[in-house]
């Protein structure tokens, strides 16, 4: 395949139809970017409305409306933004480039996975036009089988689950079978380790979600009585089935983010990673142990205390590899040559917020403390620190890091750093007060709260709108970069991984003119 000068995967074929039927992993990655960003802004609008309601104790929207907003914010952000977010969008684009492959193992399955996400999202949004779902993104029975709209939303989540399974399947086979010659497992970049362990979780956990949602739909339609207490079923059984998927799902969210952070910190400290094997093995370790800890969501839900004790113990174990990774990143920066570009700013923001999220996670894993904190705003603050502070910071860092490679154009550095400032400060103003609200006992999913919680909620709402404003600036920076950014060099950051050293920006349709041969590890700074 000879390539005319300047031909790349973007102008390789023209027209919308060439995009909608593309098999090129890079194009599918861009299509995922557009879908994930759109869903993120829809979910974000719901979040802004929720904070509007919670600005003061009095009712603004009807109770039912707020509960629906809370449900859609949760469902959109988890199923449509943060689970497909990094693996499908950044992962699809970068995985073949990082391991020196021409494409993922099954290009058509890759395209099918994008359509599963869009069809599933369409079905889920259809519930907005009917009665709307107000069960929370967890669909706990028996409330979810008494209220309306659950079946359609559950069907949507079921279809979106396939998108996650197919992406995971694709990545596992790609990493096993399509690595460039010379790239042994321990010469793979840590981003690939992270995507690989995420894919393993996606493949092993999502099918259980599929059967759980199917049983929930049958419960609602035919009253099969497995989860319905009036027919002898057990709502705690539903929670077991649901969280068996949903806890590994939170590791689907954070593991790829850790992969991006490993890339960003090494490149912008211009120093080889500290403890490559420790980070690689803790990725796999977290993926494995994540299937043993789901019960810490159910300490007070009627689960037996003996089971609670076992789950709490194992949750402490899963905390150790996460802590090891964080220490390794900080150790990588020791005696490095740190350049504070915006991807690095987001990586540092990740370290700051993820550490706070991590330590509060340990508080929630402690049995006696969780009894007090469960289902209060302490939990809301914890998981936002880990998800927004962790995964979203990594997504923004990853986007700015790979934007020159994706579109061959540099973004406006000042605009990016400005948006970081708003997002980072707004984030802390929003969610740090929620720790205090939670420990003071304010339960979550309340549309009206007692007057004593007013001041902290006011601060939190103001912070939320700051984050919203920050993301608007970020969107403007990204769109400006795609349309009018000036030409980016092949390796703007001095990265040592294959996509910087061998592929040009934006890469050609087949990624590499000649298949690269790998002789050394991925981060050969100062060798």
């Amino acid at each position: 395949m000879s390539y005319a000068a300047g031909s790349n995967y973007l102008n390789h074929e023209k027209g919308l139809w060439s995009w909608l039927t593309t098999l090129d992993h890079k194009r599918i990655g861009i299509m995922y970017m557009i879908s994930v960003f759109t869903f993120f802004f829809i979910g974000g609008v719901f979040a802004m409305l929720m904070r509007l309601e919670l600005f003061d104790p009095g009712p603004l929207f009807a109770a039912q409306t707020y509960n629906q907003m809370m449900t859609y914010h949760g469902a959109i952000m988890t199923f449509m933004v943060i689970i497909p977010g990094i693996p499908a969008f950044i992962g699809n684009f970068t995985l073949p480039l990082l391991i020196g492959a021409k494409d993922v193992a099954f290009p058509r399955v890759n395209l099918l996975s994008w359509y599963c996400l869009m069809v599933g999202a369409a079905i889920s949004f259809a519930t907005l036009f009917f009665a709307g779902v107000d069960t929370g993104w967890t669909f706990y029975t028996p409330y979810s089988i008494q209220t309306s709209g659950t079946v359609l939303m559950v069907l949507g989540a079921f279809v979106m689950g396939f998108s996650s399974i197919l992406t995971g399947l694709n990545f596992i086979v790609t990493v096993h079978k399509l690595r460039a010659p010379g790239m042994t497992f321990f010469r793979m970049p840590l981003m690939v380790w992270a995507l690989y362990s995420t894919a393993v979780i996606q493949v092993l956990a999502t099918p259980v979600l599929a059967i759980t949602l199917l049983l929930l739909a049958f419960e609602k339609m035919f009253g099969v009585g497995i989860f319905d207490p009036n027919l002898g079923g057990d709502p705690v059984m539903f929670q077991h089935f649901f969280w068996f998927y949903s806890h590994p799902a939170v590791y689907i969210m954070i593991l790829p983010a850790m992969g991006i952070i490993s890339e960003l910190i090494t490149t912008f400290s211009r120093k080889t990673i500290f403890g490559y094997r420790a980070i690689a093995f803790s990725s796999i370790g977290i993926a494995a142990v994540s299937f043993f800890v789901w019960g810490h969501h159910m300490f007070v839900s009627g689960q037996s205390s003996f089971a609670g004790i076992i789950f709490s113990f194992i949750t402490m174990l899963v905390g150790v590899p996460t802590a090891i990774k964080t220490f390794n990143w900080v150790a990588t920066m020791y005696r490095g040559s740190i350049q504070l570009k915006s991807p690095m700013l987001y990586a540092l923001g990740f370290l700051f917020l993820f550490t706070i999220g991590g330590v509060t996670g340990i508080m929630l894993a402690t049995l006696a403390a969780d009894v007090h904190f469960h289902d209060t705003y302490f939990v809301v603050a914890h998981f936002h620190y880990v998800m927004v502070g962790g995964t979203l910071m990594a997504i923004m860092g990853g986007v700015y890091y790979w934007l020159p490679k994706m579109f061959g154009k540099m973004y406006n550095e000042f605009g990016a750093q400005l948006s970081f400032l708003f997002i980072f400060c707004g984030f802390n103003i929003t969610f740090f007060p929620q720790f205090l609200l939670g420990s003071a006992g304010m339960p979550r999913r309340y549309h009206e709260y007692l007057p004593e919680f007013t001041s902290l909620n006011k601060i939190s709402s103001i912070g939320a709108w700051t984050i919203g404003f920050g993301f608007l600036i970020a969107l403007a920076v990204i769109i400006h970069c795609i349309l009018k950014g000036e030409k980016a060099p092949q390796n703007p950051w001095g990265g040592k991984t294959l996509e910087w050293t061998h592929a040009d920006s934006p890469p050609i349709h087949e990624n590499f003119a000649t298949t690269p041969v790998v002789e050394a590890g991925p981060y050969e700074y100062g060798r």
Binding site: H176, L204, V208, V236, M237, H240, F244, F291, F292, W294, G295, G302, Q303, S304, S305, F306, A307, I310, F311
Partner: protein, 101 residues
Amino acid sequence: MSEHEHHILPFKLYLKIFLSLVLFTFITVWVAQFNFGSLNTLIAMIVATIKATLVALYFMHLKYDDKTNAVCLLAGVFFLVVMFAFIAIDVASRIPLESTL
């Protein structure tokens, strides 16, 4: 690339496997008549697992394939057992509570 992968098994082997599978089905039915209480499900599971391994090893060529395929099968089963074990621990160790009203 060596052409080792397309393993062709003799017809007789397929026949032997099929007949032993039918035999095991008879065993399953036969052993179900005796009532060992809760042990019944366990025995039924063991016999079914033997049949399943036969089908997997010979009919699905797991015996002659790259080991990673077998790892997929075992990983699926392993995490199922983990799920069952932890939920069973919870269900078994719940202390039933009676209302004294």
